[in-house]
């Protein structure tokens, strides 16, 4: 056993000497390789974190939301629908939501104005999400001035801020009183934005949704399951997309790596002949080449993964922020939680380390099984 390990270590010695002969080329390869792993791993870690977070947090979202559609577009919900839906069997509670978007030209940001069901602010006061407060540079006790739908200036006193830990879901919120909401948006008194239904028995949610679709054909029920699935798919999609975008770079790398690994120069061929002539077996040559590929790809994997982990979880995926932000002014200040999927990491490991290692060994095979007497000719 010890002899076996010692032998592998000798072969590794040779592989490293062999790599060190062209330090520039191999360092460049290592750098590009690590960068590819870094980008892939960052994407995987980041999206997986958001996906898990969505599954955990949004599990508390309303079971059933009912939107109204007019001519295929989202429309305001008449208040009398509420009574009709509240009577459906299985529905324990039904209430209207008031929320909408407001574009603030002062900072060119979109806010989400929302009327909380419990403990709404008193008229004239608002509670702000941390992102809004940060963007406008406001604190508790300051006044926020906005122009209403009718062009009148509205001044709200800031009664409080939402907790910074909740920014991921609350960054752009502006909580206000229902009365203020309706006056600000000139929102009809007998309408809601949409309806929320609470269903006592989770297994009845679908049944209730079907009944709604039959009773009120101009509405569209949204299930919590659907919301969760949306997020699962959304981040899956985003992850897949980035990987597709990376595809080009990946392909270039594969060609580069293949060229490096597969192209066996006359020099290398001769070298293998020498090694065999001085007493190496075919197996030793292959193992030595295996170590060469493994050393490089393992280093690249570990370096890329560790950097990606630090990038996503210690630097809040700073490189991705611009992509996720788009043109938005508001972006939540949040740190992704390290929900790491072992299987994903294993897959990444397999797909980065394995192909390169194989690509280094395969072309050697033919050269390694030739008779060693060629070096004498």
């Amino acid at each position: 056993m010890r002899a076996l390990l010692r032998r592998q270590r000798y072969l590794l010695d040779y592989s490293l000497s062999s790599l060190a002969r062209r330090p520039g080329k191999h360092l460049a390869l290592l750098l590009v390789y690590s960068l590819v792993v870094f980008l892939l791993a960052s994407t995987l870690l980041f999206t997986q974190s958001l996906r898990r977070e969505a599954a955990l947090i949004l599990a508390d979202a309303p079971e059933l939301i009912v939107q109204r559609l007019v001519a295929g577009r989202h429309d305001l919900m008449p208040a009398d629908y509420l009574d009709r839906l509240g009577q459906l069997r299985g529905v324990s509670d039904a209430y209207g939501r008031l929320w909408g978007y407001f574009y603030d030209p002062a900072v060119k940001a979109n806010y989400t104005l929302l009327v909380p069901r419990q403990e709404p602010p008193v008229p004239g006061e608002v509670r702000l999400g941390a992102g809004v407060a940060r963007t406008r540079g406001l604190g508790v006790g300051d006044y926020l001035s906005l122009r209403s739908a009718r062009g009148e200036p509205f001044s709200f006193r800031i009664a409080g801020l939402l907790e910074a830990e909740t920014e991921l879901v609350s960054s752009d919120l502006l909580l206000l009183n229902a009365e203020d909401f309706r006056r600000f948006f000139a929102f009809p008194a007998d309408r809601f934005t949409d309806l929320v239904l609470r269903v006592r028995n989770p297994s009845e949610v679908r049944k209730v949704a079907e009944k709604i679709a039959l009773a009120l054909p101009d509405t569209r029920p949204i299930l919590r399951d659907e919301i969760l699935r949306t997020y699962d798919a959304l981040f899956g999609w985003r992850q897949g997309l980035i990987i597709v975008l990376l595809g080009g770079a990946l392909l270039a790398f594969v060609i580069f790596a293949f060229d490096r690994a597969a192209g066996l120069s006359a020099e290398e061929r001769r070298e293998i002949g020498i090694l065999k002539a001085i007493g190496w077996e075919t197996g030793d040559v292959l193992r030595m080449k295996f170590w060469e590929g493994a050393a490089l790809s393992l280093t690249a994997f570990l370096a890329g993964y560790l950097l990606a982990y630090a990038h996503v979880f210690f630097f809040a995926a700073a490189l991705f922020a611009p992509v996720l932000k788009g043109w938005a002014v508001l972006y939540p200040d949040f740190r992704p939680l390290p929900f790491v999927d072992g299987l994903q990491v294993a897959t990444l490991f397999f797909f980065t380390v394995f192909p390169y290692t194989v690509a280094t060994i395969v072309p050697i095979w033919r050269a390694a099984i030739t008779d060693p007497d060629q070096v004498m000719r």
Binding site: L12, V169, L173, Y231, A233, L302
Partner: protein, 119 residues
């Protein structure tokens, strides 16, 4: 003739390499420990976020505030223009990343498609 001088205890390339790899592997393993500890410690924050979601009836992350269909992907119109292809030119950069198909489907969960079809 000068002797080649005592080498520092057999310093081999594989030695430095194995140390580096070993160290990196330990760090790698530590990321899993860190992940477990951090997520466990974040239970409180998660709970707070969940409580806010429940209290305000929230449905979406405030990640993409550019446009309404990116702010609330789960509530958006199903067929907003130009949402069909990931590389389609879009007015909003994140719009091309948020797929329409990710939204709740009309027929996915309903047994009576006639009652649910918008057309």
């Amino acid at each position: 003739m000068k002797a080649p001088g005592p080498l520092p205890a057999p310093w081999r390339k594989s030695g430095a390499f194995l140390w580096t790899i070993g160290l990196a592997t330990v760090l790698w393993a530590l990321t899993f420990v860190h992940a477990t500890l951090t997520t466990r410690a974040a239970a409180d924050d998660l709970h707070r976020r969940g409580a806010l979601v429940s209290q305000l009836d929230l449905t979406d992350f405030a990640l993409f505030t550019e446009a309404r269909y990116t702010r609330h992907p789960s509530q958006a119109d199903l067929h907003s223009p130009f949402q069909d292809h990931p590389l389609a030119l879009e007015h909003f950069p994140t719009g091309s990343l948020v797929p329409a198909s990710a939204g709740p489907s009309w027929t996915g969960w309903l047994e009576a498609p006639a009652a649910s079809s918008p057309e």
